[in-house]
């Protein structure tokens, strides 16, 4: 057990959190192993986004422990967590007044300029729409283009753990596929993923998953186990 | 009535804002008077036939008229002061004028000389220190006419004090068929004169007259000094009132050969009918405060003197008697500021300001009165030599 724990990349124990007086998370336990892909499932307003925001440090962790690579991080500010190899993609966020180039440069805030340049070209190859508008302000992009930029922005730093909030929403099928492909190669490169996602297509990517319900983990298991679970089928497939 | 234990004199000053410098000078002069008179056991009040100590009640209006309004009212209605003295300048005095009349208080006005205040007879207003700004430039205009200076440039601040002087000056000049070659108002807050100076220079004037407040004059003279331009005659107002401030800021070189209205203590009244004469005051003030007094200190002190005289003349201790006392001493009194003469509207008609040139002598600036003749202490150097 302790050996497992030591190699755990992200370990979450009894985390409680919320907004002001409103408690949303009521004690979440969860683990992510290095290189693993974990899916967060759950109905609308179950607390998935809240959990991701707490893990990266945008929301304070009221109670419980968060450890990354064996180190307690729940009191650290986001920048410290990101420095240690985490990254987070929010649902909507890019910097609208900055150009696409500049947005990407900030995604690689802790990388050298040369690394940023190299990664940027790789990503532009994947998202030609962005390449064509690289000097334009991100604020002129369409909804889906912004999403692509958001994804590119977190992929650039090749983090050890990537937290993603609904990466596929609003993307055309062709790009959903691409995103999945990119994430696959990232996994190959050793990145662990924790993804809140509703698109069925992502199940193929997942090793394991958790079903969040009213701020608690209701169920967890491997992909096969989840697919077979009645609870998941009920909330997720509406069966 | 029984005599009060102290005579309350209420006034305002501005610790900050555009009127702070002048206001504080005036207040210090008044304070100096109060301290001095209290050392002698107080001011003699004829109505009670004895000396009573004075107490200054002073608030800070921060150069704001709305604040000043409430504070004047505080002095009148809450502190129930016996004598009400206005803050420096027309703007801060204006709000006190109707208020004082309403409460039947005599407003002793040291320096608020806007022509607007003095339009009809009143018992509740007396300008005790300086004449209305509209009459200031009359000797200057006459001097220009006398010197046969025809190409005149006028630059003035767009405020009551400066604009009214420019207007008067132009009126007098017009009577002699002189039309200024350059005549422009600038905002009161103007502080950049470099471009204006070039525009003025383009008209090749024989005299440049700048009517402004002290900061304007400083900025104007400094810009002139740095510009490399030179005019035969340059006139500004405030060297005559705040010579130290101006010298400190623009330097003696830049002030050399410029003209101004000299005021006490730059001109001295030796024979006075009441209080110290100008020189005595300068010495006494220096001894007491370790500071060289300026005109505003003098006018503050003068205000105290007038109050003192008023109290020792008024047979009854009420505002109408005070006013009557002021009227009675009008035309018969000379103080360190010169002849004292208030008309029925409350305006001061005393000695008009002469014209003087600042001439360098032995590393210092000498104030040489050049007009009118009977006051003159020397001859003007015209055109001013190039440095």
């Amino acid at each position: 057990m302790s050996a497992v724990f030591e190699s755990t990349l992200l370990s979450v124990r009894g985390v409680q959190s919320g907004y002001g007086a409103l408690q949303v998370l009521w004690g979440v336990d969860l683990d992510v192993m290095p290189g693993e892909t974990v899916l967060l499932l759950g109905a609308n307003s179950a607390g998935k986004s809240t959990l991701l925001r707490t893990l990266i440090g945008l929301l304070p962790c009221w109670r419980g422990e968060i450890a990354f690579a064996g180190e307690r991080i729940d009191a650290l500010p986001p920048e410290q967590r990101i420095r240690r190899g985490m990254a987070y993609m929010s649902e909507l966020g890019v910097f609208p007044t900055l150009s696409i180039d500049e947005n990407l440069a900030l995604g690689g805030y802790f990388l050298s300029d040369a690394q940023v340049r190299k990664r940027k070209e790789q990503l532009f190859a994947l998202f030609p729409d962005l390449a064509a508008k690289r000097r334009d302000a991100a604020g002129t992009l369409s909804g889906g283009q912004r999403k692509m930029l958001g994804i590119a922005k977190v992929l650039i730093s090749e983090p050890r753990l990537l937290l993603m909030d609904e990466p596929s929403s609003g993307l055309a099928p062709v790009f959903v596929k691409q995103v999945i492909e990119v994430l696959k190669t990232s996994i190959g490169a050793g990145t662990a993923l924790l993804i809140a996602e509703q698109n069925v297509a992502f199940l193929e990517l997942a090793d394991r998953g958790y079903l969040i319900d009213h701020g608690k983990v209701r169920l967890s298991g491997t992909r096969a186990e989840l697919e077979a679970s009645d609870a998941v089928r009920e909330t997720y497939f509406g069966l | 009535a029984t005599a009060p234990s102290e005579i309350k004199i209420g006034t305002l000053y501005a610790s900050s804002g555009p009127f702070a410098v002048a206001s504080q000078g005036q207040y210090e002069g008044l304070k100096y008077w109060a301290d001095a008179i209290n050392k002698e056991g107080g001011v003699f009040v004829k109505a009670f036939n004895k000396k009573i100590p004075v107490k200054l009640v002073a608030y800070d209006d921060q150069s704001s008229t709305s604040t000043a309004t409430t504070l004047y009212n505080q002095l009148i209605t809450q502190d129930k002061v016996d004598v009400l003295v206005a803050d420096f300048g027309s703007v801060l005095t204006s709000v006190a004028v109707p208020l004082a009349a309403e409460h039947h208080m005599l407003l002793i006005d040291p320096t608020g000389s806007g022509a607007n205040f003095f339009t009809k007879p009143t018992n509740y207003l007396a300008d005790v220190s300086i004449p209305s700004s509209t009459v200031w430039p009359i000797p200057l205009a006459n001097y220009l006419v006398q010197q046969n200076i025809k190409k005149i440039a006028i630059l003035y601040g767009a405020n009551d004090f400066d604009a009214s002087q420019a207007a008067t000056l132009k009126e007098v000049l017009a009577k002699h068929g002189i039309k200024p070659v350059y005549d422009h108002g600038v905002p009161t807050t103007e502080s950049n004169y470099t471009i204006l100076l070039h525009a003025i220079a383009a008209t090749q004037p024989e005299a440049v007259l700048e009517f402004g407040y002290a900061p304007n004059d400083i900025a104007f003279l400094k810009a002139l000094d740095q510009s490399g331009l030179h005019f035969p005659m340059t006139f500004t107002i405030f060297p005559g009132q705040l010579l130290q401030l101006l010298t400190k800021n623009v330097g003696e070189k830049a002030l050399a050969y410029t003209y101004t209205y000299p005021t006490p203590p730059l001109v001295k009244y030796e024979k006075v009918s009441y209080g110290m004469n100008t020189q005595q005051f300068v010495d006494a003030f220096k001894a007491a405060t370790k500071k060289e007094p300026n005109f505003l200190d003098c006018s503050g002190y003068n205000t105290g003197l007038i109050v003192q005289h008023m109290l020792d003349m008024a047979p009854k201790f009420d505002q109408l008697a005070f006013h009557q006392a002021i009227m009675d001493m009008s035309g018969k009194t000379t103080t360190l500021l010169g002849p004292f003469d208030v008309n029925a509207n409350g305006a001061q008609l005393g000695q008009p300001f002469p014209v003087a040139q600042l001439q360098p002598k032995g590393g210092k600036l000498d104030v040489v009165v050049v007009y009118p003749q009977d006051k003159a202490t020397g001859k003007a150097v015209y055109p001013a030599p190039k440095p």
Binding site: - | S15, S16, A58, Y59, D60, Q62, S64, T65, S66, T67, T69, T70, L71, Y72, N73, Q74, T77, Q78, S90, V91, S94, V95, V97, P98, L99, A101, E102, G114, A115, N116, F117, T119, A158, N159, D160, D162, A163, S164, G185, P187, T188
Partner: protein, 311 residues
């Protein structure tokens, strides 16, 4: 909103109005410095008028004093040239400010800081025009105006009280009516509000004009109360700044916030000014800074934090 709830709130509104009237009718008997009370009312009116605009639409006019000055000048010029009764002249001052608001209506196309500063620019232009020597024959230019013939401190005091009641009633209306709810929606998202069927441009303009009119009326009564004034007395930026600071401090978007804010801060201002004139500015500045730091969200946040729904 249920009918009963609305009724209850209207009752609150009436109580607030009654209290205001009672307070300012009684205060002069307790404390004789009527000028101070008058100025206090003036600032409450201005804070409230600013609140009508900023609190309900999010447009913060730095140049709010422009309407005040406009009202003061229009009133005085009417007194001097029209021969109308003073009260009508004050109303004329309010109307003049409304007309000025109409002329400046295009400013509402701007937003945020751009609007704030543009309105400031407009008020500066008004001031510069009014005080320009070239217009001395019409506006008195730098020499200011004098309407001593109508000077009447008590009547002008009562007039200001009426204006205060009017401004407060307007705020209550904004707070309780559907129009006010529309304003709140616009403030949060104008595009969405338009999609909800709100004529955003018109509603905003109406609010702007109402707010301008309140300041104009206040300016008129203020000029009447002063009766001798220079342009800077009614155009000084300090008036805008005080109105903004006071209403923000009390809590905008409410009815009683600006009243409390202006009362507290202006009273403090006067108390310090009278008790410790030597350090007037220093103490006042420090006090404001500390109040903000330890009471962010204004006075009303104290109530809101305890779950009290502030009127």
């Amino acid at each position: 909103m249920s009918e009963r709830f609305l009724l209850q709130r209207w009752r609150t509104g009436l109580i607030v109005l009654a209290l205001l009237i009672a307070a300012f009718l009684l205060l002069p008997h307790v404390y004789g410095n009527e000028s101070l009370l008058f100025t206090l009312m003036t600032f409450i009116v201005l804070a409230q008028g600013l609140n009508l605009l900023y609190g309900f639409t999010g447009y913060l006019p730095f140049g709010y004093v422009g309407f005040f000055g406009c009202g003061a000048y229009a009133t005085s010029l009417l007194v001097l040239h029209s021969g109308l009764p003073v009260l009508l002249c004050v109303v004329g001052g309010g109307l003049a400010a409304v007309v000025m608001g109409l002329i400046l209506g295009p400013l509402l196309r701007l937003s945020g800081a751009y609007f704030s500063i543009a309105s400031l620019a407009a008020s500066q232009i008004l001031y510069d025009v009014v005080s320009n020597t070239n217009l001395a024959d019409i506006t008195g230019g730098p020499y200011g105006l004098k309407i001593e013939q109508v000077y009447a401190p008590t009547a002008s005091y009562h007039t200001m009280l009426v204006i205060l009641v009017l401004a407060t009633a307007l705020a209550a209306w904004f707070r309780l009516s559907a129009f006010g709810m529309g304003l709140r929606a616009m403030k949060q998202d104008p595009v969405s509000a338009a999609m909800a069927g709100i004529n955003v441009v018109r509603a905003r303009l109406i609010t702007w004009l109402i707010s301008a009119g309140v300041a104009g009326l206040a300016g008129g009564a203020y000029a009447w109360n002063l009766s001798v004034f220079y342009p800077e007395a009614v155009f000084t930026l300090q008036i805008s700044v005080f109105a903004i600071v006071f209403s923000l401090f009390g809590g905008v978007g409410t009815v009683i916030g600006p009243i409390i804010g202006a009362s507290v801060l202006y009273s403090l201002y006067s108390v310090i000014g009278i008790s410790t004139p030597q350090y007037f500015q220093l103490i006042y500045g420090l006090l404001i800074a500390l109040l903000v730091l330890f009471m962010p969200g204004g006075v009303l946040s104290l109530f809101a934090r305890r779950g009290v729904r502030v009127f």
